[in-house]
């Protein structure tokens, strides 16, 4: 019996009961569609997060005072206070390292910002001119913090768009004075609105020179030093140089932690890949359920078609041929369901992508291939039992008059 004949016979028996066939195919297609959609969502989330990181610059290194290994807890992340401070002089030294493109020392605090009668709390960033480039921010008005020696506490500030809107409304902000804490600062620039970026909203920040921030908060210690390497390839070398330099500067004590963007990126990549796999694994269970459904329906079908099976055997069909016929039926149903499921999944992914344009929702090809393969394998595995039952049927009994 040629494979073509096997499939055409199997197809004939499926087409003879279209309602039953469509229902099983539907169950199969829902399983395939859910695998496709869920992996598309997982992949979308992964790529969204990776894009967010990439937008921060892939050559970024972050120097944090304190060392995870020695403290056992968070390395001074909350307070920035450790035995030895990370200072502006450290930042200047780092800026002179080979392959370092930009450096931005950073102090962060919360302060009251007021103008006339209006007042609100804002996140205060004490930094230097380099921060604009390192964080990929843009101005819509004026200039960013002035370049020049880091220790100059020039009384100027750059407002985030929302802060400007709330303090000035329609009025001109550029060149006006605002009060931050107990000092006055002249507004020299306004940031373009950028929205949330890694849990940090630049629209709600006010940037002032780092020296001014240190005076305001009465500290000489930096919260972070952001370092941008010249390109991604230089990151590893810069990290080594950084650690060596700061060790020397800190009396031979390696008391800083350097986080590279790449390491964070790789971690998130792993986490999201694992999540996607887990979610699609759960969806694949529905394929198993569809497989059980196929087994159930095929068992009923074998019972109903006893005389037909007996006849085939009397006409010279071998057990293998009978088994092949039933497996072909299961395979055809699964293929039909998988095809419909792929279309459903692609359509649903497309609609979701339209509803949430920020997420890059595209079902990955490997997931589509895996869903279809799982559907076929599940169908054939679960059809094995009914097919074997049919193959072993006693033809004489099946044909006997009832």
């Amino acid at each position: 019996m040629t494979p073509r004949d096997t499939f055409s016979l199997a197809w004939g028996s499926l087409a003879y009961q279209p309602g039953r066939t469509l229902l099983i195919a539907l169950a199969m297609s829902i399983g395939v569609a859910s695998v496709v959609v869920l992996t598309a969502l997982g992949e979308g989330a992964r790529r969204y997060v990776l894009d967010q990181f990439a937008s921060l610059g892939t050559g970024l290194l972050i120097v944090i005072p304190g060392r995870a290994e020695t403290s056992g807890g968070a390395p001074g992340v909350l307070s920035g206070q450790t035995s030895r401070d990370l200072t502006l002089a450290d930042a200047d030294a780092v800026a002179r390292l080979r392959d370092v493109a930009r450096v931005a020392p950073l102090n962060v605090g919360v302060a009251q910002v007021s103008r006339g009668g209006l007042s609100r709390e804002a996140v205060l960033l004490g930094s230097t001119a380099g921060l604009l480039e390192i964080r990929h921010m843009h101005l819509i008005q004026g200039h960013y913090l002035p370049a020049g020696p880091n220790d100059q506490a020039t009384p100027v500030c750059v407002l985030g768009e929302r802060i400007r809107a709330e303090l000035f409304g329609q009025a001109n902000a550029l060149g006006e004075w605002v009060r931050i804490g107990d000092r006055r600062f002249r507004v020299i620039g306004v940031l373009a609105t950028q929205g949330q970026q890694m849990g940090f909203d630049s629209d709600e920040t006010v940037a002032i020179p780092v020296a001014a921030a240190q005076q305001l908060f009465n500290t000489v210690s930096l919260f972070r030093i952001l370092v941008e390497a010249r390109g991604r390839d230089a990151v590893a070398a810069v990290k080594e140089d950084l650690l060596a330099l700061l060790k020397v500067r800190h009396e031979n004590d390696a008391d800083v932690t350097v986080i590279t963007q790449d390491a964070v990126l790789a971690t998130f990549d792993r986490i999201f890949t694992a999540l996607t796999l887990a979610v699609s694994g759960i969806a694949a269970i529905s394929l198993g359920v569809a497989g059980v459904l196929i087994m159930n329906v095929m068992l009923v079908s074998v019972a109903q078609r006893r005389s037909e099976i007996g006849l085939l055997k009397a006409l010279g069909a071998t057990a293998a041929q009978v088994r092949g016929l039933f497996l072909a039926e299961a395979g055809l149903i699964a293929a039909l369901g998988a095809a419909v499921g792929l279309l459903l999944g692609l359509a649903a992914s497309f609609v979701l992508g339209r509803l949430y344009p920020v997420l890059p929702i595209t079902p990955p090809p490997w997931a589509m291939a895996a869903a279809v393969t799982t559907a076929l394998v599940a169908a054939l595995l679960f059809a094995w039992l009914p097919a074997r039952k049919a193959a072993r049927l006693d033809a004489a009994q099946a044909l006997a008059r009832r």
């Binding site: 019996m1 085939l312 009397a314 006409l315 010279g316 071998t318 293998a320 008059r401």
Partner: protein, 229 residues
């Protein structure tokens, strides 16, 4: 040439063993027309199943054309059924979703005959049973006599040397039954060995050789083995 030697076969029904065949020895020469008659439970259906390789004896020998077929594997037995044996049933057993032509082609499909040759042979087979006009009809659109003629065309599609018929006229009215029987006799005249299990005395009487069974034994054989040419 068919040889049965001391064939026995028992079944378990409930907690009882039913001895359907208790040592049957028969030799049937190629081209004979044999009727097997007997009351219900006499073992004639079991005998027919054994002859058709749908069942195996518990003990004894069964040879077709000198080949011991009791020792064949399942696949080998299927091959012998496909190539040497044709079946005609009381309830026709046509596949309801297939047209008359496709039903006739089914054994050839199982045997792997190419579609072009299949079509050619189906046309000839249907012409032989006078159903050329009904080739594309589904079984539900055919009368009982037509159904049985399709079934006979199907049984002959692999040109078997042995045709087994189980009550072939049992479900037909008398005149249609006669037509069907005439068709079977015609096939027998062309050289096919014909074995018919029946209750019908008339058919039994028309057979060249009549075997009567009772309680798993052959109790009468109008022409004992070997005595006929």
């Amino acid at each position: 040439m068919i040889e049965l030697d001391s064939v026995t076969r028992s079944f378990q029904v409930g907690d009882q063993w039913v001895r359907a065949l208790r040592g049957v020895s028969v030799t049937i020469a190629t081209g004979e027309f044999v009727s097997i008659m007997g009351p219900s439970g006499s073992g004639k259906s079991t005998l027919l199943n054994l002859l058709g390789l749908l069942d195996r004896p518990d003990s004894g020998l069964y040879r077709i054309d000198g080949l011991d077929v009791t020792a064949l594997t399942e696949a080998e037995a299927a091959r012998v059924r496909r190539e040497k044996i044709g079946f005609v049933f009381q309830f026709f057993h046509l596949v309801p979703r297939l047209s008359a032509a496709d039903n006739v082609a089914l054994p050839m499909m199982l045997a792997g005959v190419q579609p072009a040759e299949r079509r050619e042979r189906v046309v000839r087979l249907l012409a032989d049973v006078g159903l050329t006009q009904r080739a594309s009809h589904l079984p539900a659109q055919l009368s009982g006599g037509q159904l049985q003629r399709v079934a006979i065309a199907r049984a002959m599609s692999m040109n078997p040397s042995l045709l087994l018929a189980d009550e072939p006229t049992g479900n037909l009215d008398r005149s249609t039954g006669r037509e069907v029987l005439a068709l079977l006799e015609e096939l027998n005249r062309r050289g096919t060995t014909l074995i018919v299990v029946t209750h019908d005395q008339e058919i039994g009487a028309r057979a060249g050789r009549r075997i009567a069974m009772e309680d798993g034994h052959v109790v009468a054989d109008s022409c004992p083995s070997g005595a006929r040419p």
